[in-house]
C-alpha cells in the first residue's frame, strides 16, 4: 500500500518536473526567437522540412476526410430532406474541428517525429555537444529554427487541409451525389462567418506551437542511445496527440 503511494507521488513529481522543464524550455525558445527570425536561411530550410514536405500527406488526407464528410453528411442530412445544408455543415465541421485537429495529428506524425528523431540522433551522436565545444549554441543554431518552422507551418497546413477538404466535400456532395451546387455554396456562405475561419486558424496555430514544442523538447532531451531516440519519437507522437485533443476542448470552450 505504501509502495503504491510512493510510486504515485514519484510519478506525479516526474510529471510536474517535465511540465516545469518544458515551460522553461519554451521560455528559452521564445527568448531566442527574434534573433532566429533575422537568420532567414535556417528558418526557410525548416519551413521546407516541416511544411513543404508534409504537403502531400496533408493534401491527400484532407481530400479523403472531406470526401468522407460529404458521404456521411449527405446520408445524415437527406433523412431530414435538407441535403443542401451539406456545404454549411461540412464547412463548419472542417473549420472548427476536423481541420485543425487532424492536421495537428498528421503534423505530429510526419513533422514532429522527424524533428524529434533528428534532434535525438544529434544528441546521441554528440553533434550537439560538438557544437557547444565550437562555441555554437545548439539551441540557437538547431532547436529554435526547427521550433519556429513548425509554428509558422501549422496554420498554413491547416488552411490547406480545410480548403482541400472542402473540395472533397464538394466533389462527393455535388458531383457524385447531386446536391445542388448553388445552394451548397450559398448556404455555406450564409452561415460561415469570418470568426469561424479565425477560430480554425487560431486552433491550428496553438496546436502548432504545442506540437513543435513537444517534438523539439523530446528530441533535445532524448536519452543518447538508440533506444532513447526511439522513445523520444514515440513520446512525441503520443504526447502531441493527447495535448492536442485536450487543448482542443479548452480552446473550443473558450471560443464557442
Amino acid at each position: 500500500m505504501k509502495d503504491v503511494f510512493f510510486e504515485l507521488v514519484d510519478s506525479l513529481r516526474a510529471f510536474l518536473e517535465t511540465v516545469g522543464q518544458m515551460t522553461r524550455f519554451f521560455g528559452q525558445l521564445l527568448l531566442l526567437t527574434p534573433r532566429t527570425l533575422l537568420r532567414g536561411g535556417l528558418l526557410l530550410e525548416q519551413i521546407d522540412n516541416t511544411g513543404a514536405r508534409s504537403l502531400v500527406i496533408i493534401m491527400t488526407c484532407g481530400l479523403f476526410v472531406g470526401m468522407v464528410l460529404g458521404l456521411q453528411g449527405y446520408d445524415l442530412l437527406q433523412r431530414f430532406g435538407s441535403e443542401e445544408s451539406l456545404g454549411m455543415a461540412a464547412a463548419l465541421g472542417l473549420l472548427k474541428e476536423l481541420g485543425p485537429v487532424v492536421t495537428a495529428l498528421l503534423f505530429a506524425g510526419r513533422a514532429g517525429t522527424a524533428l524529434a528523431s533528428e534532434l535525438g540522433l544529434m544528441r546521441a551522436t554528440d553533434q550537439l555537444a560538438a557544437m557547444d565545444i565550437m562555441a555554437v549554441d545548439p539551441m540557437r543554431r538547431v532547436v529554435v529554427p526547427r521550433f519556429l518552422g513548425g509554428v509558422i507551418t501549422m496554420p498554413l497546413l491547416t488552411g490547406i487541409f480545410i480548403a482541400i477538404g472542402l473540395f472533397g466535400v464538394q466533389l462527393v456532395g455535388v458531383e457524385f451525389l447531386g446536391v445542388d451546387k448553388g445552394s451548397f455554396w450559398s448556404q455555406m456562405r450564409g452561415t460561415v462567418e469570418l470568426g469561424d475561419v479565425w477560430e480554425g486558424l487560431i486552433k491550428g496555430s496553438v496546436f502548432g506551437v504545442a506540437c513543435s514544442l513537444i517534438a523539439v523538447y523530446e528530441g533535445y532531451n532524448a536519452i543518447p542511445t538508440a533506444e532513447g531516440v526511439g522513445r523520444a519519437t514515440t513520446r512525441t507522437v503520443v504526447i502531441s496527440a493527447v495535448v492536442t485533443l485536450i487543448l482542443d476542448y479548452i480552446l473550443t470552450a473558450f471560443m464557442l
Binding site: 496554420p155 498554413l156 488552411g159 456562405r189 469570418l194
Partner: protein, 167 residues
C-alpha cells in the same frame, strides 16, 4: 542536404499555397457583405416579444438580406426588448415609417427581422427608432388562443374531438 535553390522554390510554393488556401477560406466561404464597406447605419426597434431572435440574425426587406441584428437588450423603462439593427449603407433610402416584424424562416429555421416599406419621404437615419413593430409569433400562444377560442365557441357541448378536426 538538398541544394538551397530547390529548398527556396519548394518553400515558396508551400507558403504561397498556404496563403492562397487561407485567402480562399476568408473570401469564398464566408459572407463578407458588410465588412468590406462599413458604411452601415444602426436603427432601433422595440418589441414586446422577440421570441427566439438572436444577435446576428438577418434583417431583410422583401426577402433580401440588408443587414443584421447587432445587439439585443431589455429596456427597463418600457419593459420591451430593444433590438439594434445594423443596415448596410447601400440601403439608405428606407422610409422612416417602415415597420419591422419578426418572422421565422421555414418551419425550423431561425428567426429574422423583416422590414416592410412605409410611405414616408424621409429615410431612416443612424440612431432612428422603428415606430411600427410586430412581435414574434410565439407558437404556444397561437395554439392556446386557438384552443381557447375553439372551446368558447362550442361552450356547453363537451368536446371529445380535438379542435383541429372541427373544420
Amino acid at each position: 542536404m538538398r541544394p538551397s535553390r530547390t529548398i527556396d522554390i519548394s518553400t515558396g510554393l508551400f507558403v504561397l499555397l498556404g496563403f492562397a488556401a487561407i485567402l480562399f477560406l476568408v473570401t469564398q466561404i464566408t459572407n463578407r457583405e458588410f465588412s468590406l464597406h462599413d458604411q452601415s447605419y444602426r436603427i432601433k426597434a422595440s418589441f414586446g416579444n422577440i421570441g427566439g431572435l438572436k444577435a446576428g440574425a438577418p434583417v431583410s426587406m422583401a426577402g433580401v438580406t440588408i443587414g443584421r441584428v447587432e445587439d439585443i437588450s431589455y429596456d427597463m423603462q418600457s419593459f420591451k426588448a430593444v433590438a439594434v439593427l445594423r443596415i448596410d449603407g447601400r440601403y439608405n433610402q428606407i422610409p422612416n415609417d417602415s415597420d419591422a416584424s419578426i418572422f421565422t424562416a421555414g418551419l425550423l429555421g431561425g428567426q429574422y427581422v423583416e422590414l416592410s416599406p412605409g410611405g414616408s419621404e424621409q429615410p431612416f437615419k443612424n440612431g432612428d427608432t422603428v415606430e411600427f413593430v410586430q412581435d414574434a409569433v410565439v407558437l404556444e400562444n397561437l395554439i392556446s388562443k386557438y384552443l381557447f377560442s375553439a372551446a368558447s365557441q362550442k361552450s356547453g357541448t363537451t368536446s371529445e374531438a380535438p379542435p383541429a378536426a372541427k373544420e
